[in-house]
């Protein structure tokens, strides 16, 4: 029976047909292309920005301190986003920061992804005690607020770019492990895997050549969503002084520096924050769009 037929016309809640996402709607493609364009611009700015606009973390120019956005500096250059407390151009600092933040984000995802996918493959394929140990370990870690774990480990390791990557990888591998494991569990029962096994394929071949390629799409979707989270977490750690050191300032460092000058130089903290939020939103939108397109079941993850 058609359920919408019984619902009275004055429904506050819509009939089910309206709720189901429309397959292949143009909005999905628009979301993917739009967010990719934004992310592409950031990557370009991160690669070429610091070459065009030199940023030197130790240089100071007291004559150009705390100039508002749109000021022409004494040396003739134009500061679109103003200057900070030591006379550094905020735009130059932000593009340098984009380089740091994106590098940390990608490196973290690679490390967390490799650890997590390996753990997920092992747990899902081998099962048994290894599966139990790895997944309980993941449960325990997820029961512990990840920012707290990151703060703790970062405080012991000290601020450096490599340490941030290590810290954030430790708090992110579980997501990859869980997604990979659930994929492996369903894929390893499929006929094509049985077929390969019957033909004499060994475990290594089965895992790397038949199971992993089929599991890769959801892993990539999760990676996209996580990239935004990782960049946000890196900024938080840097804001607390536990992330990247002042010599390689990420956005979090710049925002933290501007905190002391809020009343007379609002732009130092505000502008990098807006650009950080736009990048994180783009990864969120891209991840959502990819998930809707390739694997709607991941919604619950």
């Amino acid at each position: 029976m058609d359920r919408t037929a019984v619902a009275p016309a004055t429904d506050l809640l819509p009939p089910p047909d309206d709720v189901a996402p429309k397959a292949g709607k143009p909005l999905g493609r628009l979301r993917i292309i739009g967010s990719l364009v934004v992310i592409g611009l950031y990557v370009l700015a991160a690669i070429f920005g610091p070459i065009l606009l030199k940023y030197d973390s130790v240089a100071t120019d007291l004559g150009a301190r705390l100039k508002p956005p749109g000021t022409t500096l004494p040396d003739g250059s134009f500061a679109v986003f103003g200057t900070d407390q030591v006379g550094q151009d905020v735009l130059a600092q932000m593009m340098q920061g984009a380089r740091v933040s994106i590098t940390v984000g990608v490196a973290t995802l690679l490390l967390a992804g490799i650890i997590g996918v390996a753990a997920g493959l092992a747990a899902g394929y081998l099962g048994g005690w290894l599966d139990a140990v790895l997944m309980r370990l993941g449960d325990v870690q997820l029961t512990f607020p990840s920012i707290l774990l990151a703060i703790f480990i970062a405080s012991i390791l000290g601020p450096s770019v490599v340490n941030v990557v290590i810290v954030l990888s430790i708090s992110n591998w579980v997501t990859f492990a869980r997604v990979t494991r659930s994929q492996v569990l369903s894929i390893k029962e499929r006929d094509f895997v049985d077929a390969a096994r019957t033909l004499g394929a060994r475990s290594w071949h089965l895992v790397t050549r038949t199971i992993l390629p089929s599991a890769i799409a959801p892993i990539l979707v999760v990676a996209t969503v996580e990239l935004g989270h990782v960049i946000l977490a890196e900024a938080s750690l840097s804001f607390l002084g536990l992330g990247t050191p002042a010599s390689t300032p990420s956005w979090g460092v710049t925002i933290a520096n501007g905190r002391d000058y809020l009343s007379n130089a609002w732009w130092i903290s505000t502008i990098p924050g807006i650009f950080l939020a736009i990048l994180v939103i783009s990864f969120g939108v891209l991840g959502d769009a990819l998930r809707d397109r390739f694997d709607p079941r991941l919604r619950s993850m």
């Binding site: 809640l13 709720v19 870690q141 512990f144 946000l232 900024a235 905190r259 609002w266 939020a277």
Partner: protein
């Protein structure tokens, strides 16, 4: 129910043991000597050796671990070298301020999150739904420390409506509370919206309508009650996360809670306080999870009977 309770308590203890062990291992296995860290770089080799003996660092790792577990069970985390008193007591003194902030944030999050989620579900795919979705996306994607800074800039510096920091009454709680609440609001909006939309298809809703109940009665007691079950779990987990997020928000708003003590102690290398704060917050997190699990089993009998 008893078996279910026991299972949950055993898991909670297991998690706590895991947290204690992780803290121990990180402190002992990471390059760098805790004695060296405490004394700083200008300490002589003799001073470091003396402190190592005093701290028991010269003994084997399993022996150290045993002693450490014994100390943790007795809530003995040693003294804070900055304040010359027991580390755990110091953290416990600051805890009420953090809890106050977290509770205010949770109340704001529940009211706004569920409220906006219901609005979005009632107006699904229409303008109000889109506005709420965009709001949820924004509040999830903006870094909380930055939102806090912008709030201070706008409401404290420019408009002069609210105080920018320090502990006090409601006027000092609103900004940090809202900042802390925003990511939780986003999660609750999505959950309420999708929960309500899922429940509409259930037979009992059709029955309620067939009985001729008004649409508002169908939604408010009937639909929302079942949509609330997952909200209880998530709200509990998020409350635990608020304790972690409070570290950042307390730093932005100079709120004198346990999180700020943690950050101050990290920069002062007061590791006994760091351990005490982390383990106390972790214990709070685990306790909340346990309460939620039990509450969940109570609300939904299928959970405690299954498995």
């Amino acid at each position: 129910m008893t078996a279910y309770l026991i299972r949950r308590i055993v898991f909670a203890l297991f998690v706590l043991w895991g947290a204690v062990t992780i803290v121990f291992l990180v402190l002992r296995l990471v390059p760098g000597d805790p004695a060296q860290l405490i004394l700083g770089s200008d300490a002589t080799a003799a001073e470091i050796a003396a402190l190592r003996t005093q701290m028991g660092l010269d003994r084997s790792l399993p022996v150290q671990y045993g002693h450490y577990l014994g100390d943790v069970v007795r809530f003995d985390f040693g003294n804070s070298y900055r304040y010359h008193r027991d580390a755990m007591g110091l953290v416990l003194d600051r805890l009420p301020a953090t809890l106050q902030l977290a509770v205010v944030a949770m109340v704001i999050a529940l009211v706004l999150g569920i409220g906006l989620g219901v609005v979005a579900a009632l107006r699904v795919n229409r303008f109000a739904d889109r506005v709420v979705s965009v709001f949820a996306l924004l509040s999830q994607s903006m870094p909380s420390f930055w939102i806090g800074i912008v709030f201070i800039l706008v409401f404290a510096r420019q408009l002069n409506w609210l105080a920018s920091g320090g502990r006090g009454g409601l006027d000092r709680l609103i900004l940090p509370g809202l900042t802390l609440a925003l990511p939780v609001i986003a999660i609750l909006i999505r959950l309420t919206r999708s929960g309500l939309l899922d429940v509409v298809h259930e037979n009992y809703i059709q029955t309620a309508r067939a009985k001729g109940l008004g649409e508002r009665v169908v939604i408010f007691p009937h639909a929302i009650r079942n949509a609330l079950i997952p909200i209880v779990t998530v709200a509990g987990i998020e409350f635990g996360k608020l304790l972690g997020g409070a570290v950042i928000v307390e730093t932005v708003f100079s709120w004198p809670g346990a999180g700020r003590l943690l950050i101050d102690s990290i920069s002062a290398r007061d590791y006994n306080v760091v351990q005490a704060a982390i383990l106390l917050i972790a214990a709070g997190f685990v306790a909340i999870n346990l309460i939620v699990d039990v509450l969940y089993g109570y609300l939904d009998p299928r959970i405690r009977l299954g498995r």
